[in-house]
């Protein structure tokens, strides 16, 4: 079913049109071979990255008014100072020169200078990146595992009370704004409400005076509430995707065969149904990372986590255009890279998608 479930690649209109909102699974031509497939995917990713770069430049030039006015924040500044600012940030050059300058610098990893911090954007980003990776990585592992586990259960018990509760809870959590859930968790578990004392820190990543193993524990302590928030709002998506993928497999003949030869129900599910259902699920999980980026921005803002999302919020409130622009590029690039990775791994996992 995998090959048929993926929509046709762009431009290939073959009359039969399998549909899916975001199922963009890879389709490998059996004759082409894996290296050529990889080259095609990498080429596509490179084009997308370039498109993002171009967009990030022009999008932030749409802004009405003078960017220098934002920098000075409405203070009284002399004309000479304005001109100096313009020179400093290269805003006195013609548009096309700014553009070639920007692209050339971006290729060498230079994303400009932050108005707000007076520091290279790339430094601010590399500083914050490990913190975001820690938070996102931990949550990603937990919510994917939880979503797949519960989704499998729900599909296997399709229509029964357990499935309904599971799916209902996932849908409800999916509808809750992540920042609101984060704020509530802070009130209940960090500030403390009524008889409950504050169990966890209200925000940040470390208390500041710990060393060695105590430091690791301290960070883990700070990590609990943000991770819980992210997992709660994100696992529903994985659950629903896994559930519907498994439901698609449920009627298959090979499952009947497996049962007919006397396998226990549990084994049929674990060895036969789930591995097949996980294949389409995997692509979707990676595609949904785009949603996780949004969740990360909000959760980091609410918990003052010193990561990319928190930085994005700080940059927005000024607005610090070079920083917003750089982070925009990083977020989009991350999603593109993850999608490409999923595309590359997929044929290795599924032998039916020919090599």
């Amino acid at each position: 079913m995998t090959a048929e479930a993926t929509p046709p690649l762009v431009g290939k209109t073959d009359g039969r049109a399998p549909a899916g909102p975001s199922v963009r699974g890879p389709r490998v031509r059996t004759t082409a071979g894996y290296p050529r497939y990889v080259a095609g995917k990498l080429g596509g990713a490179a084009v997308s990255l370039l498109a993002v770069l171009v967009t990030s430049f022009f999008l932030f030039r749409l802004i009405p008014g003078d960017p220098v006015k934002f920098m000075t924040g409405g203070r009284q500044v002399s004309a000479e100072q304005l001109a100096a600012y313009r020179r400093e940030f290269g805003l006195d050059l013609p548009m096309w020169e700014q553009f070639t300058d920007y692209c050339g610098k971006a290729l060498t990893g230079d994303l400009g200078t932050s108005y707000q911090f007076r520091a290279p954007v790339i430094d601010k980003i590399t500083e914050a990146l490990p913190n975001t990776l820690l938070l996102t990585g931990t949550s990603f592992v937990i919510y994917t595992a939880l979503g797949i586990f519960l989704g499998t259960r729900a599909a296997w018990r399709n229509g029964r009370i357990g499935d309904r509760l599971n799916t209902g809870l996932a849908l409800t959590l999916y509808s809750i704004p992540s920042f609101w859930l984060g704020l509530l968790l802070i009130i209940v578990f960090a500030v403390g409400i009524g008889p409950i004392p504050g169990l966890f820190p209200t925000g940040g990543m470390e208390s500041g005076d710990e060393q060695g193993f105590a430091y690791v524990l301290d960070v883990a302590h700070h990590l609990v509430l943000p991770v819980v928030t992210l997992v709660a709002v994100e696992y529903g998506q994985t659950l629903l995707v896994t559930r519907s993928a498994l439901l698609d497999e449920m009627g298959s003949d090979y499952l009947t065969t497996a049962r007919a030869k006397g396998l226990r129900d549990d084994l049929v599910r674990r060895r036969h149904a789930v591995p097949n259902a996980l294949l389409p699920t995997m692509t979707l999980i990676f595609i949904n990372l785009g949603r996780t980026v949004a969740g990360v921005i909000l959760v980091e803002t609410v918990f003052s986590w010193p990561g990319l999302g928190g930085l994005f919020y700080q940059a927005l409130s000024v607005p610090d255009l070079p920083l917003v622009q750089g982070l925009f590029f990083v977020f989009a690039a991350a999603v593109i890279v993850m999608n490409t990775l999923a595309d590359l791994i997929y044929p290795l996992l599924d032998p039916r998608v020919g090599r």
Partner: protein, 324 residues
């Protein structure tokens, strides 16, 4: 998620129009009247199946309630509820008989603000979703109808939007434009259309491969005729289901943008209330009653739209396996 099989006709979809010469129609029942009868019948059939989805009915009733609250807000609370200057209470009062949900930092009644905020949240959600689905349907139908380079370019653009993190793009757009409701609607609308475009294009390709389209072409039907008379009615059910689902994410997106301080500061919305609460220090002071009502309102409305959308989807495409 959604997998529409183009070979499987949608259940509410009408059979291809029958030419008057083929079907000897009874007197007074022209093709138009017949079409209306057919539409009424399929609407009744749709409702009958929809009713069996309990979650969908629950969602619909919740929506009716919220729509009523939003529409009657001028009568129940009035627009002066958002005025800061002559607020009725003292700042940050806990819930009491006079103010069932307490007051905000200016002494305004929170119940009134939540009721009043429903207008903006629902309006922005609806308009953004309509804009998004309109763009998606337009691009989907045209990309499915005109093959060749036009479709290639359009689907490339769609693919590109599909991989972009939607919220980041919406935030970027809202940052560079002026703070207003129009900006928010535009930012949400132009970032969420690609899934609709893909779905509609797939459905269009399915419809256009059927013989009756060939017949319409042979009889001299042009592009506009085929797209508006044959393709559009067939993709309409899909478009409706998609709209319902997108409203729910649009409402969440509006709340998010408002919470990040990108909303129109002069109007009251649920996301804006949460931002006010955070800025007024309601979190560190443990004033949970300030935060809970707007959040619950957002969650209930978003959930209600999701439930309705899923019910509509599963009525149209029973293969999805959405439980009742």
């Amino acid at each position: 998620m959604t997998t529409t099989d183009p070979d499987e006709p949608m259940t509410t979809e009408a059979p291809p129009p029958v030419a008057p010469s083929e079907a000897p129609s009874p007197p007074k029942a022209g093709p138009r009247a017949l079409a209306w009868q057919r539409r009424r019948r399929s609407a009744a059939r749709f409702w009958q199946r929809y009713r069996t989805h309990r979650a969908g009915v629950f969602g619909l009733s919740a929506l009716a309630l919220f729509a009523l609250i939003a529409l009657t807000a001028p009568l129940t609370v009035g627009s002066d509820v958002q005025s800061v200057t002559n607020a009725p209470g003292r700042p940050m009062e806990s819930p009491s008989a006079e103010f069932p949900l307490g007051t905000d930092q200016f002494g305004r009644s929170l119940l009134g603000l939540v009721v009043w905020g429903s207008r903006v949240s629902l309006l922005v959600g609806l308009l953004a979703a309509v804009l998004s689905v309109a763009i998606g349907a337009l691009i989907g139908i045209t990309a499915g109808h005109f093959r060749g380079w036009y479709a290639t370019v359009m689907m490339r653009i769609t693919d590109w939007f599909l991989v972009m993190p939607t919220l980041v793009l919406a935030i970027a757009l809202a940052t560079v434009m002026s703070r207003s409701l129009g900006t928010i609607i535009l930012a949400i609308g132009v970032t969420t259309w690609p899934t609709t475009a893909r779905l509609v294009r797939a459905q269009t390709l399915g419809v256009e491969s059927r013989p009756y389209i060939e017949r319409a072409r042979a009889l001299g039907g042009g592009h506009w005729h085929v797209m508006s008379r044959h393709v559009l009615p067939n993709v309409m059910p899909l478009v409706l289901a998609q709209t319902t689902l997108i409203i729910s994410s649009a409402i969440l997106a509006e709340a998010t943008l408002a919470f990040l301080g990108l909303g129109d500061p002069t109007v009251v919305s649920w996301g804006g209330l949460l931002q006010d609460a955070r800025e007024a220090g309601a979190v560190s002071a443990g004033k949970w009653w300030y935060l809970v009502p707007p959040g619950i309102a957002i969650a209930v409305v978003a959930l209600a739209f999701t439930l309705c959308g899923r019910a509509v989807e599963s009525v149209l495409n029973p293969k999805l396996g959405v439980t009742r």
